[in-house]
């Protein structure tokens, strides 16, 4: 994993989390712009996962590979869940809060990935 790319993704996810928090406290449900930004975050995470898997297939071995792969899986499955919740017609400001929480959790998982690489 490239440290600079991973840190850039971390910063982007933290920005998404703050954005979601602002939507939640101002009582707004996730809007299209926000969901599009979250989708971009997911694309970055999928690309990062692909790169990591290619390098692992090429012979790199993180010391705790099981744990690494667990966190890698978590980084790609959580945002789609948030997007599904945010797109739901019944979504409310609380779903903005859900996305704020999952983007924060994934941001922390990205840091763990970097430490475990």
């Amino acid at each position: 994993m490239n440290a600079i790319a991973a840190l850039a993704i971390f910063v982007f996810l933290m920005a998404l989390s703050v954005w979601g928090l602002i939507l939640a406290v101002t009582r707004r449900r996730p809007d299209r712009t926000y969901l599009a930004a979250v989708a971009i975050g997911e694309i970055e995470l999928v690309l990062q996962a692909i790169v990591a898997l290619v390098v692992i297939a090429g012979g790199h071995r993180p010391p705790s590979i099981g744990e690494f792969l667990g966190y890698l899986l978590a980084t790609v499955i959580l945002l789609p869940y948030g997007i599904v919740r945010g797109r739901s017609p019944q979504a409310t400001q609380w779903d903005s809060g859900v996305i704020a929480v999952v983007t924060f959790a994934v941001a922390v998982a990205v840091l763990r990935l970097l430490a475990l690489w």
Binding site: G70, A74, R85, T92, W94, D95, G97, V98, V101
Partner: protein, 147 residues
């Protein structure tokens, strides 16, 4: 009561349910990994992580499928969770040798930003609200409102 459409949780409960699911996932994955690879290193911490994960999962399921029964189950689960995080927190501070590796609840959940300590209190506050109880069918709804 036989309401044709399935009840669903609204309001803050949507966020609380998601956070519980997230904790069930992270504590559960961590416990499975630790028990599978290094159980003898800190058995108590790993077993407690697994117990915590099971309680988070139970609460998340109760929040997702509201009924009078799931309301009561959730209240019991959250009380156990709160006693667990306070008890394990105290033991891990008083006798750290029992916890060579961190569990979700050790040192009052410091590894998770103390969220494990606050989460059951927020959850119980939410469950106790009349609107939530009505949405779970635990009380007769005052109107057609949902939590």
């Amino acid at each position: 009561m036989s309401s044709p459409e399935r009840r669903s949780v609204q309001g803050p409960g949507r966020l609380i349910a998601a956070v519980y699911a997230l904790f069930a996932l992270s504590a559960g994955a961590r416990a499975v990994f630790q028990i599978a690879t290094k159980f003898s290193h800190a058995p108590l911490a790993y077993i407690l992580s697994a117990v915590a994960a099971a309680i988070y999962l139970l609460a998340a399921i109760c929040f997702t499928f509201p009924s009078a029964g799931s309301w009561r189950t959730a209240v019991v689960a959250l009380c156990i969770e709160f006693v667990g995080v306070v008890g394990v927190g105290l033991i891990s501070v008083l006798d750290p040798s029992l916890f060579k590796d961190a569990s979700v609840w050790s040192k009052f959940g410091v590894g998770y930003g103390f969220v494990p300590l606050v989460l059951p209190l927020i959850g119980l506050w939410w469950l106790w609200r009349p609107a939530t109880r009505a949405a779970f069918g635990e009380l007769l709804p005052p109107e057609d409102s949902v939590a």
